[in-house]
């Protein structure tokens, strides 16, 4: 064990604490092993320094070792460490993404409490959209996609079902109208359902909806005709039923 003066001892203890903190939650390395290597490195580097070793000798060694926070790549750390780190010091889009996911989890936990679930889910959704907008500005998505996709998917599925099924009695005609709208203004739908529905996909969905609508209208006409023919053949009149 190297002989340090009081101040150098404190400095080394602080540094080792930073090493432990930096390596905590790191899956690919053994923190105890690294700490041992670091201690060994410091002792070797100070082998010729006068005893007791002071901060004047110790600081350059620690300086060359560098900040422990930079030793391990982010992807090697546990998810909870990355989440806390992202919230604490990450760029804006990372914070937004983590906040969005946090609110989403909270909304699920308060599922039965009205209107907490709805408010939290909407807030989570808007934060996810803000993350998308921010990432688009930056030209890259730094946040993990799974952090923002859950609230987006929940709200989009709800919106999609609402748009598709609200006018259920007029479904075939509505499908044709909606399909035409999707093909006519794909940009609008792409914006509302970003990032899952691009302009091209909106056009394709529109085409399918038109086809489904046309087939349903065709089936309704054929079905109606068959009912009329059968009732005429059997001598049944709708007015008499």
């Amino acid at each position: 064990m190297i002989e340090l003066d009081d101040e150098a001892g404190r400095r080394l203890a602080e540094y080792i604490a930073r090493v432990r903190s930096a390596l905590r939650g790191c899956r690919s390395v053994d923190p105890a092993e690294v700490e041992r290597d670091i201690r060994e490195h410091i002792e070797n580097d100070l082998a010729d320094a006068p005893r007791p070793v002071g901060v004047a000798s110790l600081d350059p060694v620690l300086g060359k070792l560098g900040s422990p926070a930079q030793w391990v790549p982010e992807e090697d750390r546990a998810w909870w460490w990355r989440m806390l780190s992202g919230l604490r010091q990450g760029p804006e889009d990372l914070r937004l993404a983590y906040l969005s996911f946090g609110l989403f989890v909270l909304a699920l936990l308060l599922f039965t409490v009205f209107p907490a679930f709805h408010v939290l889910m909407l807030a989570s959704f808007f934060l996810a959209r803000a993350t998308l907008a921010f990432s688009a500005e930056q030209g890259e998505m730094r946040a993990q996609r799974w952090l923002i996709y859950p609230p987006l998917i929940v709200v989009y599925v709800f919106l999609g079902l609402l748009v598709l099924l609200a006018p259920l009695p007029l479904a075939p005609v509505w499908f044709i109208i909606l399909g035409a709208l999707l093909r006519r203004v794909p940009g609008f739908f792409a914006t509302v359902f970003a990032p899952f529905l691009g302009r091209e996909r909106a056009r394709r969905v529109g085409k399918w909806l038109i086809w489904i609508g046309v087939i349903l209208v065709g089936l309704a006409i054929i079905g109606g005709a068959i009912v009329l023919i059968v009732s005429a053949v059997l001598g049944l009149g709708f007015g008499r039923i």
């Binding site: 190297i2 690919s28 290597d37 490195h41």
Partner: protein, 116 residues
């Protein structure tokens, strides 16, 4: 913007090269951590913070590429020696071959670019 890009690029390149250099430093025979650091210090621009090397060694050991043994030293504290495992030797051979291939390709591209 260009500076940020360059910084990110240098970090990525350095990371891969540092791993390759550490394995190559151990290839001739077992070495202790501080000795590896000393040998890599000479490589300009490769080792910015020396502490980075130890987590890499620990990861190599966990992945079975190197093995570590602790032995007493006559000059000071007990030393932790690292040596390549057969898996490490095989991987290093392939990494070096790949690096040679990339280097040749890159050199020829750069030469073409510099032609008048």
């Amino acid at each position: 913007m260009a500076q940020t890009f360059l910084d990110n690029w240098v970090t990525q390149v350095r990371k891969g090269l540092l791993e390759l250099s550490i394995l190559n430093a151990i290839r001739p025979g077992r070495r202790y951590g501080y000795d590896i650091v000393k040998s890599l210090r000479a490589m300009e621009g490769l080792v910015i913070s020396e502490g980075t090397i130890y987590p890499i060694l620990s990861r190599f050991r966990r992945e079975g590429l190197v093995e570590a043994t602790i032995e007493p030293s006559p000059d000071g504290p007990a030393r932790r020696y690292y040596a390549l495992t057969p898996a490490g030797v095989g991987l290093l051979r392939r990494m070096n071959a790949y690096w040679e291939q990339v280097k040749r390709g890159l050199d020829s591209t750069v030469e073409k670019e510099n032609m008048p």
